[in-house]
Symmetry: C2
Subunit: 164 residues, 2 copies
Amino acid sequence: MAEKPVTSRTLKVKKGKIIQQKGEYNSKIYVVRKGLLRSYSIDKKGREHVFMFAPEGWVVGDAISVDEPSELVIQALEDSELLVREKDAKRDGTPKGFAALAKRLLVLQRRIMMMMSVTALERYEHFENTYPNLIQRVPQKMIAAYLGITPEALSKVRGQRLKK
Amino acid sequence: MAEKPVTSRTLKVKKGKIIQQKGEYNSKIYVVRKGLLRSYSIDKKGREHVFMFAPEGWVVGDAISVDEPSELVIQALEDSELLVREKDAKRDGTPKGFAALAKRLLVLQRRIMMMMSVTALERYEHFENTYPNLIQRVPQKMIAAYLGITPEALSKVRGQRLKK
DNA sequence: CCGATTTCTTAATCTAGGTTAATGGTAAGC
DNA sequence: GCTTACCATTAACCTAGATTAAGAAATCGG
């Protein structure tokens, strides 16, 4: 019996479109071909917190094979073209998939340490260096929501920096 | 040719012992049989930030197959008995290993969201609920370093809470 | 092209948590 | 057992960032 190929279809979405809602089971993995996505959560006070941005080439979606409901909302920030991949337990076990996860883990580890040890300004500058193009493409308030500060605080930080 | 079994030896360490130093390559994975470990980093200002605690049954060690130097120090907080496991790329690819990683990823994701959205008090109470026994076993200053606050601030938080 | 909505900035005020420092308590080394 | 070092607590003060508010600028829908 032949192996079933990985199911993977293309999806075009308009700017603003919610691709995956919080609480949905049976979540999928999205490879960004063109455009820009973000994943975020909303806390009890109604505030949005951006977990990650995903420009071209990036992959979004809880990498959870366990059947837990998604805790994050995924949304298109620009008209985008995505590759939708069903989660496939068989594929999970590949060394390649494992390495990708391990790398992702390291990124999150660094982000936690960052949240604990550096100021908003330093986090902003790090973001700026890591994703130079995103600064122009992402609205400030979402960058603030990624950095863990308010848009007002980000505006202040940016203002201060210009004086140097 | 027969499969080589996973190399795994037992290691006994005294309280305070540094098991893995920051910057070391060829890092291993430690399963805690008895005792308590922590992994932490030191920032530019010399402050310690606790990444995780590992009581009995827990596993510590960067899950990175890529050869990156460890960014964390691992230390025994009590006299401990560990199972040391060499990293084995073959083992990496198992669905079981993958699921464990995915779960870990979810924990980190929640921790990031937590750092961004809730107060020190709420983080402390969450820690208290999640690891009720650890509160007694771990020095306050390390709990503070896990929560991302100073020992003084933690003391304040605990004091305020008693009045309720 | 135009009104409406959303986003960004600035400024005044407020607050959680940081910093510094002093004190008493607890554990560790000899 | 004593001494030295470390740890927790308290208190006075300070600062980064939150909150609130209001105006300017950009974006959107038609």
